[in-house]
Amino acid sequence: MANDFINLIERAIINQLRTDFEDVHVFGQFPEAVDVEYPAIIVQLIASGVDEKFMGEKLTFGTDNTQSTGEIYGMALTLHLIVDKKSVMTVSAEGYKQRRLLNYLMLNVANSITDLEFPSTIEVIERHLQAWSDIGYLPELELWGASAQYMVSFENYRAV
């Protein structure tokens, strides 16, 4: 099978967020205005590329004669949380809205991402979730939001 680590990681993150936050709409990219629904988590891939080589060229593993090459490959995502005026989530039997809901989502999305177990077919070697930033309120659209960057490095080895 062709290497498809970026898609596998992106989808693993989206699936985990959908599992942990059933009442939140999780999008893999910025949705069109007509499709957007709140509260929303938008997982946006913003960068990817080779970090460093972690093994030589055309190596074989044990008795397997398949020749492989590999680098550590990185990808960076921005996670956006957006809550509109009407968004409600029930937390501990209370309806959370607006700033309170955003505060709840920031902490719990961070927990969800930190606890995420990637599929065993991906050898993730490092991941970093940075602090939530650009926390704010847009009065014209009555939206509350926050963004955080998330970086994942994995072993991109492949048959050559």
Binding site: D23, E32, K85, V88, Q98
Partner: protein, 335 residues
Amino acid sequence: MPVGQRAPSINMSKILRQLGFRTGQSRKVTYYRAPIYGRDAYGVENTTVAVNEIVVPNIQSYIRTQVTKDFVIQRGGGNIIGSALVYLPRLDTLKNFPNMDQANNVYFNDVEGWDRMIDVDREIFTVPTSGTDGWSSTAGDFTSDGESLLYTLTGAQTLTYSSSATSGQYGRQNILETDRIRFQLYANASDLYLTQMKNTVISGSTEYTLTYSGSSPLPLTSGGYITVDVPYASGGYINTSGSLSPDTDTTSIYTSGTRYPYIVTSGNNFDYVYDLSKFDFTLSGTGQVKIRLCDFYRAINWSVHSIRDYTDEYICLECVRTSGKRQSLRRAYGE
């Protein structure tokens, strides 16, 4: 104009009525203001409604459209895709409508930013009332005067319209594009009530229901039509449960300034994409009722962004149109 001569005043309501007969630009819209929620001690809105939504159908207006739909802006991610000047009668005249009269309804005192005028984009399906075909009831017979459906009620009855159409995607009448349902009811006696409406949709041979139940029955004031305008697929529900499903959502019907909350309950697996099979009215009391102008329609929401003119004769509002669902995608993806 000679010095000292006062400019003649305009009877805006009369102009709107006359324009309505001659052009399609003078239209009856539904005035909508979203509910205002309470706040906790930390300034965050909670889920308790402090002041309920205002939903007043049948407000005469003149809509001078500048841009109806701008698809380029929509593709670019913009949510505002149209603009119009909306003319309403002056405030005194507006407040003479029973639903906006402050003697009846203290919550409407002025037009405010982000209030909405809900107009009809197009009618998706009109439940026929010009004849009696398709109508049935648990007892009694219908007649029609060519416009309204007439029925004499003796106690609680359910009046049902059954669609015989087979043109829809799922076997009956297509109503996918519907945003709202509107109809008018008339009673010739004061003890007649609307207790429930029920929308039945069908997929294959399986039926699913969406029920609008009055927390207390809506009295049909003797001698005048009452216009009911409730949300169907999108927008306008008040959700206080924190759930994404519409099960505990409510909407409102106003008569003489009093709000009658209607709880919208869907059965399991109800889906707005399914076709209409039946539409029911449950009424109670004794007397004759008339039903007319029963439409499933696609709405345009004109949202007030500024007030351009505020005169003795009229109010001119600068409004924008926000986009709704894209129907081609709903059809394609079954959402």
